[in-house]
Symmetry: D2
Subunit: 360 residues, 4 copies
């Protein structure tokens, strides 16, 4: 595709946080023309009524989400509630690039889907995490290992990863692939901003409850992102993955700070651990290993398509500790969608995406 | 200037919040090449050490702020402590565009400067608020009234307005210029994010003190932005301006929400008040009057070069109430600098600037 | 009443924020025994399910709000939605002390009620602001002026003031009563914590929307607390009151920081202004004028039955500026209820109430 | 001691957060008279200047911290920087109850102290965590196991635990003592409020940096609380303790939410895990196991001497996950000091302490 042509992109679910963030990014994309914006309950409203921060699109009217309104676009982004995208996607032509920001098409295992989501699996689409390492077994040469980005050019279906999944996967996969950590006892605890919960009107999501407080949710092995993280670390070479995963809501709107730790592999040289992360991310535009001693904060990544990673070895605890910061709505959702779209369409991977966070 | 050439811009004071924000915007500017970055105490460090959110510039080394390091640039941004820019600017050639993000060159009245800043006035530079209305007297035709942007093309010195000043001025000036409000008893109270206070290490700026709390500062007519607001409203046609101004720090990093109210002018028709704001901002790219009934929040403007304004008439109180939201570091500082730079250089006014806020 | 006997207190509306806060205070009250706890939708639940922070009462079961469940108590606190307390109160015996934390019985003017609340006025009860000054006209001797506390002993009906009303009234009334400010052009702008909005599930009250943002509401003379503030300042001696009132939601759960300003009275000596506030609050246990130069923050009052006030004269603006901090749920609601209850029952006014805020 | 006599308590370090919080609690203690308040840099100031939230003590003058100013008290609380209390304590008589809120006397192992604090060990004092379980080996009968409270009556020296230590220890010790978890691979990740860092003026503690962001610190086995947690879990019966510990700063002033996980012991019945926590805390006044399915938030404990704990078994991960919420300044510091003081003096353990958090 020549970049002098504009790609016409529709966004279904434009009234939600994921859809709004996709529009914020697409509005700044040099090769995109924003087409239909659709919604469910808000259909008929102007976008400015529900997303007043998107000034350039404020006058646009939200249409209902139907095959007709979504027709005539080269790309359709589905930012729909979990479980809703399968049906909509089935009505779209095969040659349209359909990018699902929801969970429906992420998992390869139908039984995982059924166990964690409690419904029938909609199928598996190519996975929209370009940096995912593919290794047959631990001990891969990270400079030459295959990445998921190799699988995206030309695809017409993309499943965007879960936000927590992105943070934990990017934090740990270099060590897994290089064989310096073991994935048999991964523990991840996350500090999460409230936008990850969407616009649902639930008491524990009220500002009065959230301000000045921290609270966990989905503790004890029930969170739906668990099978997806396990799937990714297996892709990175782990024969088996055991994961304890606990997200905690903290008083910020955006951001994930994921502390993920795994046992140091027997025989691994602590002095060589950092080298795996350096090799894995030396050339990545949107995943940076920070200089030694500097730790990520979520503010560093606010609004940016960027994951910042740091790693340390705790010799006494015989564990490698990683901390990864992302903006859950950008690198965790809409930025990953645009990055993958760029790859699928043959555009420059970085087109329309920025790496500078809005800090402080 | 042809926009195919890149303008080479130096930033003095690149380690502070204003300098960092200028770099964030300049990094995304299509016609800018970022030149020297200078600092005082941080000279010798990499930018990544002090501004880790600016990934694309992380490897750049901060140089000391000297005429030599600032030489060879078409534009020099001064993001220095108040009082420091006069001396630096005096050492720069006349044909270099020098943009002062500090206060030194904003005020026209030397006695105002001396009263509020307690030092010798450095002089007055063209004022970097393109939307400022110039009217001889109340009752101007806002569709044709002169704006400050008319004075900026070709200038080589620009004084960027104060952040609070921008919010209050943009909120009230349409009514002042149109003569529907009187500036003789303006009251403005602001909710301010902490980044406006800079990186100074003071006890009341600690997170532990700020979180969960609101506190006023500079109450009772002492804030340095008072004479600048008065100057602007006089430019907009007010024969005399009396202003009660109270900023309050609230627990957010960025943002100003300015509630500014002025008496309804005798004889003004309440039904016609809104028309003044509509006329004033109908064509402004970076100042929007929201649809009736929708009120601005600072989140709507986060990271964007955008002021959102709403106005209401309180008939019982015989006052017009305006609320204006900006990001203090963008439209309040660095965005205004870039917008004014564009005008001074003959570039498109909107180049490199976005209007979409990072919300939620 | 001898304080060796325990007063049995029921709380209707124990599932909401006001009811929960009343219980928090009553649980620490040396002369109170907590009786029935009632609720509407939550009836049948344990208190621990809806107010898990009240550990000592966690096992108590919420009953429905009926005359039967509320029978057998010497005091009944009504923490009900606006409009609901009139009917419940009518079913309670005359010799029971009924304290309405809602708005229904605050206003003296039925037409004010109808204009701002849009329903039939339920009647006027003795007003639960013990510190309210009663003066016939400006120029009162504040050392000897009557206070509302004189009217409370023995009463069996109390209307607790609105939270914003408390902050603005306490801020301005000394100057009004002393005649050093004029109430003809009062402007008040408040920074408000989100708990003031209750547990209502509305989109703009979500944490994701609130965090990092400030937003106004009820702008332009529509807020229901306006007639109540006007009523209070008239009680303090103002012949007429004109009020511009704008609340703004800022990212904290509790607290009100009210900036309230009024014109300096013609002929008033700026040097003598502070003396009015000193005289008004010299002996008040729960309203303190801070030492000159120290400004209140809401954190100073968190959890405490305390209003902190500071005042300054802005000679150039010819205005007196006051800033008042309270915890909206304590001095703004439940603390005022307990304080007034103490007075009505002949207990020590300060019983069970603390003045130390939970800071930082 | 008869509780009709008042105990005279001095607070050294009254200008800091720990000292201020101790004063807030002591001011409400029925059996305490507050004596000398001392400070270092703030000596000579009124308490109101540095702790304006403590209204009842605002007029008290801070004295220098010397043996003379601290003389004549039955209790001296030392809220001093780490390393400073040893010297002060050495100058106090043996029959004075000295309670060290700092770290100096917590550790039993001098080599642990030297490794983590880098100075000479000041010695070990009785440990002020009344709920600490003492067990010879895993498998203890928690209904009859010894607690640290048995060792406190009559003591005249108390070392108050670290705040993070309290949260992690209370979360995990029931499982360790009962033998249902193994302490050989404990992983703890904490969300911490900023007040835990004290009033130190450091850039990363500024509100502008903290708001809207989460950041880790002391990652990789370097945090000073690690040896203290290990010491406690050994006391609870663990033959050996390995701990990965990562604190993260999140945007709240107070509170710790500690997610602590340990492997399920081989042979332990997942159905029986909860029983250990129930048995351990059934009679504790200040540590509550929440009902199944309800998870703690820090807001539930704000200002209260309360630890709220929940536990779940993640069968797939073969780990037990605990989440514990405390207010770092109360149960984490000053509340533990008062609770231990009560025990040492023979007062009711709960005197002057409340369990109701200030929520929302």
């Amino acid at each position: 595709m020549s970049s002098s042509q504009l790609v016409r992109v529709a966004v279904a679910g434009a009234s939600g946080y994921a859809g709004g963030e996709a529009l914020r990014l697409l509005a700044a994309h040099p090769f995109v023309e924003i087409g239909a914006l659709t919604a469910h309950a808000s259909a008929g409203s102007s976008l400015g009524e529900v997303q007043p921060h998107l000034r350039g699109l404020a006058h646009r009217i939200l249409e209902p989400t139907t095959p007709e309104t979504l027709a005539g676009h080269e790309v359709v982004l589905l930012a729909l509630p979990h479980g809703a995208s399968g049906q909509v996607a089935a009505q779209l032509p095969d040659d349209v690039l359909v990018i699902d920001l929801g969970a429906d098409h992420r998992l390869e295992s139908a039984s995982d889907w059924e166990q964690f989501y409690g419904s029938t699996h909609a199928g598996t689409w190519p996975y929209g995490m370009p940096e995912l390492i593919h290794a047959e077994a631990p001990g891969a040469d990270l400079a030459t290992a295959a990445r998921q980005r190799d699988k995206l050019p030309g695809t017409r279906r993309i499943a965007v990863p879960g936000c927590n999944v992105t943070a934990v996967t990017l934090g740990l996969q270099p060590g897994v692939a290089a064989g310096v950590v073991e994935a048999t006892d991964v523990v991840a605890v996350l500090a999460n901003g409230y936008s990850g919960a969407g616009k649902a009107l639930k008491p524990h999501l009220l500002a009065s409850e959230a301000l000045g407080s921290a609270q966990p949710y989905a503790v004890g092995g029930t969170h739906r992102h668990i099978p997806e993280i396990r799937q990714n670390l297996r892709a990175a070479g782990a024969p088996d993955v055991t994961l304890s995963f606990t997200p905690t809501l903290v008083p910020m709107s955006r951001g994930i700070l994921a502390t993920a730790t795994a046992p140091l592999a027997p025989g691994a040289d602590p002095e060589q651990v950092r080298a795996a992360w350096e090799a894995a991310y030396a050339d990545e535009p949107f995943v940076h290993l920070l200089p030694e001693g500097q730790w990520p904060s979520t503010a560093m990544t606010l609004g940016a398509n960027m994951a910042l990673v740091q790693v340390a070895v705790d010799a006494a605890a015989r564990r490698v500790v990683t901390v990864t910061a992302i903006d859950n709505l950008v690198k965790g959702t809409a930025g990953a969608a645009v990055q993958s779209m760029n790859l699928a369409l043959g555009l420059r991977e970085t087109a329309g995406l920025i790496t500078e966070g809005v800090a402080p």
